[in-house]
């Protein structure tokens, strides 16, 4: 009798005994719930250590690194600068074109290469198609997290048509190795322009259909409006970027504000969150910014297709890349935000150091800030609204 009693009490932890992995002591009415790494709503392998008081979130501690391959170490061990590009692809595997373009832009600035206009136009078309494809994954899976399965099928159906265009151009559907330093691996196939125009014509009405189905759905709005509000100053302090920053009311887009490529020749507008359904910077705003950006991307693609000049896409590719000693940080606008490459050259044919500043890594670091005080069930939507791709968070 006495023995079983001691056994029982020995399992009861004393106040102040249990700590989170960041060293905070739990109060007696708090508990830790682990979400992931194999949870469907974590969009890959992310583990969230959640401290809850009843159903209210007290703290969230993200644990990342399950997909870590050390891109930066790989980059240092290549035999030349072009070989880094396939590895850049594999960082953000749903927006590989944008990852390649960021690296190519950084290297071209370092080497002071002028890229032929045709290359710039094709890069813009590819980057914007990829942006649509990536946003479709984001909003489709966002719907699933809110309990709406059908919009996901619509989104992936349309995304397939974009992947078909990519496959036609370079043979790959996900990881392209298409944008090279100074040029492209292939020119456009002859029927590409017509097919892409056809896609734009087909796709434009589908945006409205998707909005009717999901964006303005009463239940969806109630689940997402006023949830996970990210104020402007916090967004800037945490260096959020892309739709995450714009949804918080910051009119900021690297395509316009830190110009690269030929975006200045087209008419388009960065989309900013206005708090139409709730507060500026809530999860619904993040969703609508993505939807409106898709529309803008279609605009850009149509203009680029109309004005694409002739030229040789491989004319400016350097035979041997050997930058002078020096370093560069260049940033471009990927679907998730600012993808920056800090490249250091020691004058040899391989990079001395490549650091990739990936947007989702930085955006995810603000997650604890915006989830404190929210309901546990909303965390799924808050995390989905950040739109993480773990390949890029972990690199």
């Amino acid at each position: 009798m006495n023995g079983s009693k001691t056994l029982l009490t020995s399992y009861v932890s004393q106040p102040g005994e249990i700590k989170t992995s960041s060293g905070k002591t739990l109060r007696t009415d708090e508990m830790i719930i682990n979400m992931g790494p194999q949870h469907p709503s974590t969009h890959g392998v992310l583990r969230l250590e959640i401290v809850v008081d009843g159903e209210i979130i007290v703290d969230v501690i993200p644990h990342i690194g399950y997909l870590h391959r050390c891109f930066e170490k790989h980059a240092e061990h290549m035999t030349n600068y072009q070989q880094v590009i396939p590895y850049a692809d594999r960082m953000d595997y749903v927006a590989a074109m944008n990852m390649e373009q960021g690296y190519a832009v950084a290297m071209e600035r370092m080497l002071k290469i002028e890229v032929p206009e045709r290359v710039e136009y094709i890069r813009v078309i590819m980057a914007e198609l990829q942006r649509i494809a990536s946003h479709l994954v984001a909003v489709g899976t966002f719907g699933i997290d809110a309990g709406a399965f059908t919009p996901f099928l619509y989104a992936f159906h349309d995304r397939e048509r974009i992947l078909d265009l990519f496959e036609m151009t370079c043979g790959a559907r996900l990881l392209y190795n298409y944008v090279w330093v100074g040029g492209l691996s292939h020119d456009l196939p002859p029927q590409f322009i017509d097919k892409a125009k056809e896609f734009c014509k087909y796709y434009r009405p589908r945006i409205k259909e998707f909005n009717d189905l999901l964006t303005y759905n009463e239940i969806f709005v109630k689940r997402t409006a006023n949830v996970g509000v990210l104020p402007k100053d916090v967004a800037i302090n945490y260096a959020c970027s892309g739709p995450m920053l714009r949804a918080s009311g910051v009119n900021w887009d690297l395509r316009r504000d830190d110009p690269y490529s030929v975006y200045d020749r087209f008419e388009w507008e960065p989309q900013v969150g206005k708090g139409e359904m709730g507060t500026v910077g809530d999860t619904w705003d993040r969703h609508i910014v993505r939807m409106r950006e898709i529309e803008q991307s279609v605009n850009i693609i149509e203009q680029a297709l109309a004005g694409i000049p002739e030229g040789n896409v491989q004319a400016a590719i350097p035979k041997r890349i050997r930058p002078e000693r020096g370093e560069i940080y260049a940033r471009t606008e990927a679907p998730r935000g600012e993808i920056g490459y800090y490249i250091v050259s020691d004058g040899s044919t391989t990079p001395f150091r490549v650091k990739a500043r990936s947007p989702a890594f930085v955006n995810l670091s603000v997650l604890p800030e915006i989830s404190r005080g929210a309901m546990l069930a909303d965390l799924v939507l808050i995390a989905a609204g950040v739109d993480i791709v773990l390949g890029e968070v972990d690199r």
């Binding site: 170490k73 945490y238 800090y342 150091r353 890594f361």
Partner: protein, 158 residues
């Protein structure tokens, strides 16, 4: 503000803490001592003429000459100017002041630099490994790092 102006006002304010600047580089940079990095960062963020409120990137470096370093790429969303700050420290005593209280984004970037290069950020609220497992040995991005043959007694094939 140009890099030269930033350098002059930093030099006037902090004197010996600002070591040198390379203003003719592709992207001009200023070298600061690691023990006073936080002060400099606070000044750069809060001074009305500077307002570097956006830390674009924070990268750890191994210069392969016995020195480690940290590179800060700063940007101001108000004035739209940029500057690059650098600090360097000896490999044996890799201590740098943390700036995660100045820019929230530095928290994870500094954890990454600690994880991959072993730079210790003093006063960091939660300096743990972030990408690698907690029981990993060594710092992979150091130039003298050897890829281990075994992980927890299990042979790693290549």
């Amino acid at each position: 503000m140009t890099a030269e102006q930033v350098f002059t006002s930093l030099k006037a304010k902090f004197g010996d803490a600002v070591l040198e600047a390379k203003l003719d580089a592709l992207q001009p940079w200023i070298l600061v001592v690691p023990e006073r990095m936080k002060e400099v960062a606070l000044f750069l963020r809060d001074d009305p003429a500077m307002q570097f409120d956006y830390l674009m990137c924070l990268s750890g470096m191994d210069y392969n000459d016995g020195k480690l370093g940290v590179v800060y790429h700063l940007f101001s969303t108000v004035h739209r100017h940029k500057i690059v700050l650098k600090v360097q420290c000896a490999k044996e005593t890799p201590h740098v002041q943390s700036v995660s209280a100045v820019w929230g984004t530095a928290n994870w970037h500094e954890r990454e630099a600690y994880d991959l290069l072993g730079i210790i950020f003093d006063e960091h609220p939660d300096l743990r490994r972030i990408l690698l497992p907690d029981d990993w040995g060594g710092y992979p991005l150091r130039k003298d790092y050897r890829v281990p043959e075994f992980y927890n007694g299990v042979k790693v094939p290549y």
